[in-house]
Amino acid sequence: MDEYPTGSLDQNIPLLLTLGTSARSTYDPKLSPALKDQAILIRSELPALDTVQAHALLSYVENRDASFLPANGRDGARRYRFRVKTAERSFLLPPRRARLPDGIEASPLPAVLHSPYSPLSPVSPLYPDGLMDTQWILKHQDFIPSVLLCFYDLVSEPSLATLCDNKIKTDVNNLRGLLSQSGYRTRLAVVLLSDQALPSVDGVQERLENIRRVCGLDPKALFLVPPNESQEELERMAENMLTTLYGVAVEYFRDLGRHSRKKRGRNMAPQPTVPPTSGTSQTLSLAGWNVRYDFKSAMFAEYRLEMDNALRSFEQAYENLLGVELFETIPSWSPRWNDARFLADVIAVRCLRCLLWNGQHSAAARRWQAHRDRVAEFVDRRGRGTNNYGWEAWEARWATVMANLIEKAEISDFAPSTLRIYLQPEKNVMGERLQPWELLHHPGYWYHLAAKHLCARRDLAHAMSEDDRMPPSFSPASHVASTAFTYDTYMCPQPHEEYPINSVQGVDHSHKIIECLMRARSEFLKRQQLRFAAELSLECARELTLAKSWRNVVELLRSLWQDLSFRAEGWLTIAEDLSWALRSAATVVGDASLVIAIDWELLSRSFTRRTNWHYDITRSLEGMAPQPRPKVCIKDGQLLPFVATSFSFGDEEGKAGQSTLGQLVIKSNAHQGSAPITLSNIEVKLGGSVSRIVLKHEAASKTTQHKHGAVKLSAVPLLDGAEGAEKAEPGHPDKADRKVTLHGAADLTLLPGQTLVFVMEIPLREPGETRAVSLTLGVESDAFELEHSLNFGEGSGVANIWYISASATKRIARASPNSVRVLPRPPKMKIKNPSWREQYYTDEPIELEFDLINEEVVEAIAKLDVDLFGEDTPAFSAEIDGHDVDESSSTSIVENDESRLQGVSLGSIESSHSLTVRLRLPPIQRSSRYDLTLRVAYHLSTDIGTPIMQTAVFQLNIVNPFEANYELLPRVHPDPWPSLFDYEGVADVSGDNDGAVASSHLTHKGLSQAWYLITRYASFASEDLRVMDVDIRLQTARTVRCFASKRDTAPGSPPEDAGGGGRVMLPNTIVEAGFDIIAQKSTLDDRSPATLDVSLVIKWSRCPNPSSASRNSPPINTTILLVPRFSLFGTEPRVLATVSYGLPTPVAVKVSPSPVPPSLLPRQPQLIILHVVIENASNHFLTFGLAMEPSEDFAFSGPKQTTLHLLPVSRRSVTYRLLPLGNKALPPSTPTTNVFGGAVLSNWIKPSLVVRDKYFQKVLRVIPAADGMKLDKDGGVLLWVPPDVEEDPEEEDESSSEEE
């Protein structure tokens, strides 16, 4: 809107002028000089107020200025709109009536004078036939206030009050008089600022009324502001005042509107003050006057914010203006033609604003187009046509105006946050066939449109012939005349100024275009239309290029070029356009790296080929001499690479220490005919132990090459980069030793369209996955250095292809051919255990011996880890041959069921040598199972980088070598029991203290019992064991004394081995051992039961192995087996039976109720003598009945039925003699086999002896208490009958020996 005269397009707002307050700047409406000397001075005589209160009120009122409010009707809260200006004491009003111009004779009649703005007055530029100009618009907007607001002080001092009031009255009346003299109907309003709290309301009211009456003020136009009001109160008052005043202003404009309607209603053209004498002497026609009146009505309606009325009047004025009677009649050469066109523009703009105000957006867009089309049609038909720069200038202006209007209207739906591109049409046009453009788009589009027209303007201007561009003073008059009709110069310069010849500065088209484009761009960016914004940037850059503003081009395009979504998304034509534009700018600016990068990218055949371009990267810096030599690093994805690359491994997996084939394929997609590119080096980054492969260019390289078509296959030998890495990275020696770089040399010249294939043998070092990660191409020339990294991706066109030869390829079926799985190097270290045993036994110290045999070809430096895993793992220690290992490092750490020994250095093991490692485990108590893992980690002295691992797992079984069962049999103690009544015996012995042993023996005077313990222990070992000794250990309560003595041989024990002592036990054999136990209580009084804990101690050793005979004899181990607890000294009476054969020897038991006749004894060798001993350990006197049943098997002598009385703590015995009878009927057999043959056997007899407790009537069990007796199933006692001596003398021998 800038190009239209100031104020011509702005929205009209009533002017409020304040008077009587001092202000920083007073309002100067800038009257034209001609009018200034006729102007009417309105002056207040009173001094301007300078109080705080007045300033506060004034500044609030000034802040409510509505000039910059958005032009829309939404702001309902605001009930008034004022343009507020401040004059201190005086201001000028334009004259109401123009003077008669000088030199015109006064006519006889008094001249009718008109407003100086009217075409009727000769002083007006419109005189005599002009329509309307900006001055009139300014008249109401700037010059004549609708409301004049005067500030006065209301003095409360009673003595001064009347005087002051009178002064105010005089001043107001004076102002009123001046205003009415001027002829304007500006409304006067007065604000009275009271200086202190007034004493009484009535008095003030009266004073106010008085002032109002004397001044003839409207009651609505007098305001009183009390002093010391708070800011809020003041604001509230000011709001009320302004609202009231707005009503007054609206009234003022309504009067004016009514006036102009009245004039239109007269329907006649007024006569000018002086009839025109110059020009056509034509005056403004009636139609013209009607346009004026309609326009005025519309403007006044706009002041009143009655937009509908304003729109109607504007449209009427517009139609009339462009109607047949007016516009059509104005000759196009006349300046009035352009004036009319200008007025049409103004009216159209104001119409558009009204439409936007009312929210009729589509109607606005349509109205915009309609005006454009209409004017175009006029210009085409009557004017100078639309095919010249002037028209395009107007078009651009027209689009800009629309953009500005939309911006000014601040349409809420267009707020950038809504991201709306365009607005939906109003409901009333919804169903119609709408032009898409009629949906109102956001200002960015309008600015873009303006920019496009500006471009067209420039093109048309540049198309002008040189003759036309000559200044008029230089060209012949005839030509000037013809030019005048060729070019439309409505609001734009003459041809010679538009595009002057001789390179004089003309219109800066580029500047205008760029300005428009940048504004559009910012609008698009606000709404996240990034691509559109990029497009505008591109257009902008094109303009800047034309303007040779290279630096700005680079600045604008560099970021676009860098992140270029066009390239990534495949809009290559756009990317290409941008690249070329940027390149040309970068060349001039001297940004060498950018030029190289762009040239590098443009080599790709994806872009269209420029015909006369060299496409030689080495020449891209021609004409530039950048210092220092630029180095360009291009990362993957930054550019569209013109090479397709892939790296494939020949095998899917390989082993560490071996090597595999790798193939690097580089395919050039450069333009055909572009210069060959010589890569200085290629670097392949691998993820794995080999970190890099570097190929250097060597033109005359000795590599074998095969060529077929466009494919060149070369085998490149690679050198290990030990010293090469040193050279390449002198600064990082420590890095170089970890990661290996391989070096090779080949011819790296890449012709366009050629495919280079490099076959390399890559050693694999570390197990894991080795993957080709990225590739860096390096180009080095005298002028620059370039590095382009590329990742090996899936997408490149040459992936998955393996070149068997230059002419033959095959497809690789693997998923990722650019990686190889490296398996660990197979270890050749052997871990052996020659003397491994299936079983180890508890309670023996275990020594395990391992041989580590190095079967590698070179010496190995090894470390050993040992893990023992199981329940309750013991700590163990390791011993290595030929090494002094300190304790701490060679002893394992136990934690959580795991015993671990780590990192025992084994030193170096020579090739095909072996090393012995011994592990020592302490004796283990329980049978258990452990997993023993030996791990030897080693590396070869020739290849330090590759760790190798050998692992061996052994299972350690630890078992109990022996198990045993036990039987405790009662025996009759031979010594007599101490008598309860024998006081002396007890006392006598206790006093005898003669020696330690004797005393311990003698102090025990209690009951004693004899027992016989039989243990049968079995060997559970898997091999022969040598049992050195068997013993028992006894443990009883302290009141009981126990002795044990081992019987020499138990029946069935294996023969003693003469060699090593002890006896050899075969696996799964049972050996029996017997022990006599004698227990005695310490005192007779103690008759409580006692317990006996026995443990069996077996001393044994392994049988010495014949293979390891040279060794020391194996150690003797002790295995202790716990025997279940036995109970002794029961208080119940017990019946013990013993047996003896042959002649009854005089027994210790003296009590025998029926002595055997001695005559029988010598002749009866089979005579069996049965002693029955009844023990009464209780404190009671007991009576027992004994009954012996007669039997067919034997004859017996002794009491058949008898009664025994037992004193407390005493025992008695009864003796029977038995003679077996039935043995001759049945043949004798070995006693062991016939045990369970029947109730009565040939050599066992069963006497049915019943012992009954008389008192309790309870049968006591008879317990066999000697060899040769046993119990049968029913609990009866069986007696063994020795066989006949005559019949079987051997057995006789045997049995007799046993009896000993």
């Binding site: 169903g431 898409p436 066009f566 495949g570 756009i574």
Partner: protein, 197 residues
């Protein structure tokens, strides 16, 4: 009197990765030279098509936020200026169809156009009267384009992933001749009011 009516200036098929799959340009009638010529250069059409992607993104974000717009017809994307307007359609696999309409691409006799111009007095008087577009008048075009695209997808030798890789950027253009012919037919045959292509 001759009246300008809309015609298709450009048909664009844009892949899931915002990559151009197919672009067909159609000449417009130029009253100055009385001949047919494209109104813009191919580069400018590329820029126009790419600028619609902004709006596709805005709309789909907006639709996702309001959970509407499952139909895929985006209607008018924007009017670039008074002549060119872009309409868009997105399939549920992310392929986008863009129609750029030249509002003054054809010129027909005024009498014929009278049926299309809906009695707007202002326009009747102006020589270069233009016929607008109703909402939904692009539907047959999109339908035809989708049919052609589906036909293309049914071709066993056509690999959609090659043209719009699922992960990554860019993709190949569609070179199928039949598809190109279909596009050409659609672009040439459409005029306002056509319901079946």
């Amino acid at each position: 009197m001759a009246t300008a009516i809309p015609s298709i200036a450009c048909l664009g098929v844009i892949g899931r990765n915002n990559n151009p799959l197919h672009v067909a340009l159609f000449p417009s009638f130029d009253p100055a030279t009385n001949s047919f010529a494209p109104v813009r250069t191919p580069l400018q059409f590329s820029l126009l098509l790419s600028s619609t992607l902004d709006i596709f993104e805005l709309r789909s974000r907006h639709n996702a936020a309001n959970s509407v717009g499952l139909s895929g017809d985006f209607g008018l994307l924007h009017a670039v200026d008074e002549r060119l307007a872009a309409y868009g359609f997105e399939t549920n696999t992310g392929t986008k169809f863009v129609v750029i309409v030249d509002m003054r691409g054809r010129r027909i006799d005024g009498a014929v156009a009278a049926g299309l111009v809906d009695g707007r007095g202002a326009e009747k008087r102006i020589g270069a009267a233009a016929v607008g577009l109703r909402e939904g008048e692009m539907k047959p075009v999109f339908k035809a384009m989708q049919t052609a695209y589906i036909k293309l997808l049914q071709n066993p030798f056509f690999d959609p992933d090659e043209h719009s890789p699922p992960a990554g950027l860019g993709g190949k253009k569609i070179t199928n001749k039949k598809f190109a012919d279909d596009m050409r037919r659609i672009g040439e045959n459409w005029t306002p009011g056509v319901t079946n292509l």
